[in-house]
Amino acid sequence: MLLNGFLKKWFLKGNSKEAAKKRLQFALVYDRLEVSDDVLQEMQKEIVEVISRYFVIDTDQLKLDITRDNDLSALIFNTPIISAKTRAPMTS
């Protein structure tokens, strides 16, 4: 069995499917995240609304990104905070 596995590793092709599976999983994460521009804009607007309740932010410099490294996909919302708002109870 040991020899068998050893020989297989060295003398036969094999295991290119592991690469295929990994690549496929990555591709699908991106594909599935692909949302229309309208949706992204809408989401950005809502995130800004929520954050603005607590912080004063520089809305000109905010950035929304989808990144991927190794096993993780992340939605990154980047914004400079100018100052925190005083924590008075919200009334709307």
Binding site: N15, S16, K17, A20
Partner: protein, 266 residues
């Protein structure tokens, strides 16, 4: 009678939609159901030749929709299997010749006439796809164990889901010896990434080509592995959803056979 409409789809071209439609249709009819297969690949018809009915075509689905003929006139009876019918695509029009609303209208009549209506979808996700899925109750999504085909299947499953159509997966052209060696995605790998129910596994089989050459249905070729797999898929669609999925295996080498006889190996 209220027939079920099943669309056979894939996104990617050439993965076996037409082969699957013809074979599952034939198997359902052999099981006693009244079946019509509809070629929705307007402009690139193929289902007629795969079924050996190409020289019987007078009218087609576009003629039906344009009221140039009655539904019955465009419905061709199989020569070999009772209860099996084909509505061919038009070869001279393009996909815009019909609309999803047209399909919903025609499908009402089809449901009243047949137990099963199988729609052979064209490749792609444009108008032809929309027409083919317009009236579907459920979907069989076909892919091969390759990155591009699986990825396209994922997209199509998503689009079908958005239309509230549930998909089941058919993996076609599996080469068992490559799977065993680790050079082809296994069905389990594909199911892992797509997280969807399987309806069946079909291996690459020379008999598919022979069947297309002769027009004799694959499911009538007794020793065809692919034919047997399609017959089991038809059974799963026809009231036996729990029929176990058989995984295609590579034929064992002489030494492998001897080893398993005397109790070594698996």
């Amino acid at each position: 009678m209220q027939g079920r409409i099943i669309v056979i789809s894939s996104g990617k071209g050439g993965v076996g939609k037409t082969t699957a439609t013809a074979s599952i249709g034939a198997a359902l009819a052999l099981a006693g159901k009244k079946v019509v297969v509809v070629d929705m690949d307007i402009g690139l018809r193929n289902l007629d030749v795969v079924m050996g009915l190409e020289n019987r075509i007078v009218f087609n689905i576009v003629d039906v929709i344009r009221n140039k003929c009655k539904l019955q006139q465009a419905t061709i009876k199989s020569r070999r299997i009772d209860n099996l019918y084909l509505i061919p695509a038009s070869q001279s029009d393009n996909k815009d010749a019909i609309t999803p609303q047209d399909m919903v209208r025609v499908s009402k009549k089809l449901r009243a006439e047949f137990d099963f209506i199988l729609m052979d979808c064209p490749a792609g996700i444009e108008r032809g796809f929309e027409n083919a899925i317009a009236a579907a109750d459920e979907a069989v999504v076909v892919c091969t164990p390759e990155i591009s085909a699986v990825r396209d299947a994922d997209r199509v499953i998503g689009l079908l889901y958005a239309k509230e159509i549930t998909s089941r997966l058919l993996i076609n052209r599996i080469v068992p010896i490559m799977v065993e060696r680790g050079d082809m995605l296994s069905h389990q790998d594909v199911v892992d990434v797509l997280s969807i129910d399987l309806v069946g596994l079909v291996q690459a089989d020379e008999d598919v080509v022979v069947s297309t050459n002769t027009g004799i249905p694959l499911v009538m070729q007794e020793n065809s592995k692919a034919g047997q797999a399609f017959t089991r898929i038809a059974m799963r669609l026809n009231g036996h959803p729990d029929l176990p999925i058989e995984v295609p295996r590579a034929p064992k080498s002489l030494w492998g056979r001897i080893a398993s006889k005397i109790g070594f190996g698996k």
